[in-house]
Symmetry: C2
Subunit: 489 residues, 2 copies
């Protein structure tokens, strides 16, 4: 193969998807609605660059040559490793540490944008996606957590999820920590093992979690997972704790204080949840919108207090035809140590993040993006090169009236042009032949009607009487006639 004839294959890299108009429309509508809500809460927009220095992202081990896997990293020409951001929180921590002196404090920002994960791609598993985050940096108050939760509730509702189709589940890392300390469990490794076991409650049930809290568990395939090694009493406490969730926040608080009471850290966690509950009441957030759920773990890494998980209650149908819940589309919590990585000074922070593409997919699966359905432009058929200026003038008139329009600019004949208009989901095609121009008329073909008839939506006879499929009218009546079609009248 010589260089002259080298033909690359036209393909997108694995795990990177091309997004067409309907998906983009849906994602943009979500971002616009949520941004408006977040700004109404006094959060300001921030966008950081795609790259961060790898050490700033926190995935860099000072004694290794390369940043570890999971990020897209490359070496800059001054030998420094840079990596594409894998979330919006690490860049915020870097930004806040860099600009702390000059920022209004607390600093409230929201952000949306692409993040990248260098993971194994697969069907539906992408290596880039859009996240939308809101964070308050510099407030240790539980009210800051409550406000983030209230914004998540309002944001998801504005994005198109009616009340009752999503719930924010809230927990506090200090509760389980305090309970384990009170039960004599001090090892960080053991505590992590407990979090890992609790995180599997949905999948394995209480019996499976019990095994993982103790010696360990053998799964159906015979593979053995070593457990956290708790004693029987500690196991019972943890199981009682994760089962303490009730249908109201205040009932859960009561149940928790019976289980937790005694350790300083647990009491602190309880007091924070109580303050969150009070603030949520002030913010008008009801129990069906935000609940306390002690079984929520939400990642193991950096949360230090309250944690939140947003769960969609929408159901969709899986490949076996069974209804399944969509599940988590985001979460967050309090992370008081992230900015201290840079400055050495602890700065309290809390935030919430959700997956925009995932929410768009959920709304689509639930049939809730219908209002955003694609509608193509009106197509002006190109009959005759000599009349092109007239076609463009018609397109301009339609646009001025708020109706998207285009002149067909390919080189195919009448039939192919009509097929093109139909594929573009055009409401109507405009025909201006020499005869029409001479007579001062114009012919309009109602393509919406054609599609409705083809889909059996309308009764043929009734429609034919009131809405002609094709009409030739005076040129001056064009805009009004097209408007009637576009508006479905």
């Amino acid at each position: 193969m010589t260089e002259e004839t080298f033909r690359p294959e036209a393909r997108a890299p694995r795990g990177f998807a091309d997004k067409r108009a309907p998906q983009l429309r849906s994602e943009r509508a979500i971002l616009e609605a949520v941004s408006k809500v977040y700004e109404s809460y006094g959060f300001e927009a921030l966008d950081t660059g795609a790259f961060e220095y790898a050490d700033a992202l926190g995935k860099f081990l000072p004694d290794s040559d390369r940043p570890n896997e999971g990020v897209f990293a490359l070496q800059d020409d001054d030998e420094q490793w840079m990596a594409l951001r894998y979330d919006l929180t690490a860049p915020l921590a870097r930004f806040a540490a860099q600009n702390w002196e000059t920022l209004p404090k607390p600093f409230r920002r929201y952000a949306f944008g692409t993040v990248w994960r260098n993971e194994k791609p697969g069907p539906g598993r992408f290596r880039e996606f859009i996240q939308c985050d809101a964070d308050t940096v510099g407030s240790a108050r539980p009210e800051a957590d409550a406000e983030i939760i209230a914004m998540a509730v309002a944001g998801l509702e504005a994005a198109g999820l009616p009340r009752g189709q999503a719930v924010i589940k809230i927990n506090n890392r200090k509760l389980l920590n305090g309970l384990l300390t009170a039960a004599g469990v001090e090892s960080a490794g053991q505590k992590l093992g407990v979090l890992r076991a609790v995180d599997k409650l949905d999948r394995l049930g209480a019996e499976g979690v019990k095994l993982l809290l103790g010696e360990g568990r053998k799964d159906e395939s015979g593979a053995f997972t070593k457990g956290a090694g708790l004693g029987a009493k500690a196991i019972d406490s943890v199981l009682a704790f994760v089962a303490a969730g009730a249908s109201s926040r205040s009932a859960t608080l009561d149940a928790l204080s019976a289980v937790i009471g005694g350790s300083a850290e647990g009491d602190e966690g309880l007091a924070e949840l109580a303050a969150i509950d009070a603030a949520l009441k002030g913010l008008g957030v009801a129990d069906d919108q935000a609940l306390f759920d002690p079984s929520i773990v939400r990642g193991l890494e950096y949360y230090t207090g309250a944690v939140f998980e947003a769960e969609l209650l929408l159901t969709t149908t899986d490949e076996k035809g069974e209804a399944v819940r969509f599940g988590s589309i985001g979460g967050g919590g309090r992370y008081d140590d992230l900015i201290a990585r840079f400055t050495g000074q602890p700065v309290p922070a809390t935030g919430f993040s959700f997956g925009v593409s995932r929410l768009a997919a959920a709304l689509k699966a639930a049939g809730r993006d219908a209002a955003r359905a694609a509608r193509g432009p009106v197509v002006i058929i190109a009959f005759d090169q000599a009349h092109m200026p007239e076609y463009f003038a018609v397109a301009g008139e339609l646009r001025a009236a708020g109706i998207p329009a285009e002149v067909y600019l390919g080189s195919s004949g009448m039939k192919a042009q009509m097929k093109y208009a139909d594929r573009r989901m055009s409401p109507a095609a405009i025909m201006l032949g020499g005869d029409e121009i001479a007579a001062g008329t114009v012919t309009i073909k109602d393509l919406d009607l054609g599609r409705e008839l083809a889909a059996g939506v309308s009764d043929n006879a009734e429609w034919k009487a009131t809405r002609p499929g094709q009409q030739t009218i005076a040129r001056g009546e064009l805009i009004a006639a097209v408007k009637r079609i576009v508006e479905g009248g």
Copy 2:
């Protein structure tokens, strides 16, 4: 330094900027306005991933180990080189080649998003920026070029540039090519040298270009640039050609036909410009909005016919205090070979691209983003932890009335809270102490007024009479009173 105390420095990578709210507001307003225009012309949104395979981007040399400089490239775990997109046209070509069979043809798409260039960063020179493109793929008609130009005109106007502050300059690559062929210049290298020389007209003037078209030119420092080596007659033709621009498109066409006439390629270029002119008239684009300018070069690489350049006529002040024109903010043209790289089949295409951040900066420099100025949320002062639910209720009432609002959530006292509200550019601060709550009243401090008085905008006495800086009113009148302040009444 041990691993435990490793503290990365908080800094963004070189050439990557953090964008705060005012800049984002301005960029988003541009993208929203331009998207609306482009959609009204029947262009559909498309977004491709950040990465392309390096060979698909066209910067990959099959016989080299690494893609060349200028892009951010890395090797995937299957050894394939990927690179971040450096524009939106190369990914479009890949997408169109990959999906050609199933696309409506011509395929019209617009796109906006981040592109990356691995170039030397410097003050005001970034390595990532936002571009906004519109392209028609699959139409060889000059009307497709005209439509792209009309959209560029309409888009820039919608983005906030009033008529007369921007002009699209149009040329056709075939004119100069035909003229050079007719003058006996056949070498591709010589033709490229001519383009390079013409491209320097603005900077060097006709005399400098004349030298570069001939033997070469020595600059002030004594450095010599070798010229294109044309003979005297060819040089005169080229200089007459680049000087043929007139104040109307038809006058330029007349002048050009006197200079160009004779070569087949030149005549083809002239006929295309005439068709573009006719279509622009149909599209309502006047001479002061889009002109023919034979001196426009617009990059050397892949344009095959018409080329466009968008020039801002806005002036700004440079570091020496002198008025300077902003100059080019984008351009485009016809590129009929880009998709053939993949498929071997030529596919005609034309498009326009502009720099969003650059346009935002131009609007800001010209003081045209004033309407988008930052306005912070109303801040509810946090006097007393016991009253937090009441503060949140007030914030909720304000938001429900369409007024962004927040409760102060830091831990500082009254004075610092007022300073915070002022730094947030809050229109007002709300004070609800125990006395106010007991009396059913609320105190509002008008911070807009404070800023106006400080800036000397308002006459102190007059304002004090009609607009109190601080007022205590009945709780039920809160929303109306804040609205009066926000609306400046």
